[in-house]
């Protein structure tokens, strides 16, 4: 609550200085981290931060992000449409490949596991609207904190291998992915995603396993598309159909949702919305601190170890910097083992708090291209509240 109050005050204060309502201009600050886990547990999940039961929307608490892999029972959940199958028979489930192919295919789960090379990839899946509560005025959409994400070891079959088996026809250019979620009304657009065939690489897989277990039902059992480096809107769950086309089909979830302004800062103001937009696609560099948590009390002169995770769209994390003096000086955190360029990179940083009172711990990730996280306030607002990647600031008290 304290943090919220702080923001209210700071927003009011800056409005006074500018002599205008700065709210209208669009501002960015630290996301909301005050939400608690619900008392209701969803299937195969522990109680998580719960926004909706239909469709299910669950967020992972920040304290989970001190390790490379996010446990399946704490992995975030985001569906778009209300009607998701409550029963899947793994013995009869098939995935269809059709459209611009030489041979249409229907593949069962067992055939996927036996007729193709089995591969694994460690990859972060993050909602494009993760941390959306950082934007004011609020963009429509779920007001996520920073836990609409997770990292898992995915096992499955290369999409390329499946398409090779079907054989692409001349002119094949786009691939559409459809899952089994359904709307309440027939006319509501289906949640279909399209990617260009050129974007495909060997890391794109159809996964049936996550962290050594079957995919949890709410994470897309029995099959989901794994598109490392990309935001999760393209990681279609309960994947049932892959259609190859020569043309891009106009679709709501591609043309209207999950887009940012098509300019350098990917930003705009509420009064002056950008005319041209582009899809969110590849993730930017970001990190979060999993420990300590906001509002925590830590002991004076004790051995505190700050822990968190850093990631980007697949270039790889080069370093994570920690500041204990509000960004005046930065020190390198220790990076744990590199588990692949699409994975979380866990970091830790030990120190002894020497001064009593309030302390801000900040973490900033830098990737191999030299791209680094900006301060929250330096991130431009956008109407969808997408791609927030501000430097995480955790306020603690040394006692």
């Amino acid at each position: 609550m304290k943090r919220r109050d702080f923001f209210k005050t700071s927003i009011a204060a800056s409005a006074a200085v500018l002599g205008t309502t700065s709210l209208a201009a669009g501002e960015t600050h630290q996301p909301n981290e005050t939400r608690q886990v619900s008392k209701y547990a969803f299937p195969e999940k522990r109680p998580l931060i719960t926004y909706s039961d239909r469709p299910p929307l669950l967020e992972t608490p920040l304290s989970v992000f001190t390790q490379e892999f996010t446990p399946n029972d704490q992995f975030f959940v985001r569906w778009h449409l209300p009607d998701i199958p409550t029963h899947i028979d793994p013995d009869t489930y098939t995935i269809h490949i059709n459209g611009f192919v030489k041979k249409e295919l229907k593949i069962s789960i067992q055939e996927l596991k036996t007729d193709f090379e089995q591969v694994e990839v460690n990859a972060v899946v993050q909602c494009g609207g993760n941390s959306r509560s950082a934007f004011t005025p609020i963009p429509g959409g779920i007001q996520w904190g920073s836990g609409a994400m997770g990292c898992a070891k995915w096992k499955g079959v290369r999409l390329k291998d499946i398409l090779d088996k079907a054989g692409l026809l001349e002119g094949a250019k786009w691939i559409g992915f459809n899952g089994r979620e359904k709307a309440a009304y027939f006319k509501t657009p289906n949640f279909v995603r399209e990617i260009e065939i050129d974007e495909l690489d060997d890391h794109v897989i159809i996964a049936y396993e996550m962290n050594g277990e079957d995919l949890p039902y709410l994470n897309g059992y029995p099959l989901r598309l794994v598109l490392p480096g990309y935001y999760s809107d393209s990681w279609v769950k309960m994947l049932s159909n892959i259609t190859v086309t020569d043309k891009y089909k106009s679709l709501f979830f591609m043309d209207k949702a999950y887009r940012v302004p098509d300019n350098e800062c990917e930003c705009e103001t509420p009064e002056n919305l950008a005319k041209k937009t582009k899809p969110i696609t590849i993730m930017n560099v970001k990190s979060v601190i999993g420990y300590p948590e906001n509002g925590a009390k830590i002991y004076h002169n004790s051995q505190v170890v700050v822990r968190g995770v850093a990631w980007d769209g697949g270039y790889g994390i080069n370093k994570v910097l920690i500041s204990l003096d509000d960004g005046k000086t930065w020190e390198e955190a220790e990076l744990k083992e590199d588990l692949g360029r699409y994975s979380y990179r866990a970091f830790l940083f030990g120190f002894k708090p020497k001064k009593y009172g309030k302390l801000n711990i900040m973490a900033k990730a830098v990737n191999s291209l030299g791209e680094e996280q900006p301060l929250s306030k330096d991130i431009g607002w956008n109407r969808g509240g997408y791609k927030y990647n501000g430097i995480h600031v955790v306020n603690v008290e040394v006692v």
Binding site: E44, Y51, S52, P56, P90, G140, T188, Y217
Partner: protein, 102 residues
């Protein structure tokens, strides 16, 4: 493969068992305010999404809520008639408004 073999042998597996039967997503009784127009909200909004979606937006302007209702009609093809659309907008602004028209 190993899992499938196990399944035949034991005809049950902890992992598969969870989805062999229908899963049940819990019903969450989101505390939504009663007020004028609530019947329309219940009839028209709840078909597609829980009240969690409404509560999560926080207090917003009339323009914001109107935009949301329009989005449901235009983009998601919710069959909400003009009269109900206005009733829902008024309900949302009255109960979850920030007092600002724009």
């Amino acid at each position: 493969m190993k899992k499938i073999v196990l399944l035949t042998a034991l005809s049950i597996s902890a992992l598969f068992a969870q989805v062999k039967e229908s899963v049940e997503v819990p019903y969450i009784p989101f505390e939504i305010k009663m007020g004028k127009g609530f019947d329309a909200v219940q009839a028209d909004c709840l078909m597609c999404h829980s009240f969690g979606y409404i509560l999560n937006q926080g207090p917003q302007s009339r323009k914001f809520w109107r935009g949301k209702v329009d989005k449901m009609i235009e983009e998601f093809k919710a069959p909400i008639d003009k009269k109900d659309a206005k009733i829902i907008e008024d309900y949302l602004f009255e109960n979850y408004g920030n007092g600002k028209e724009q």
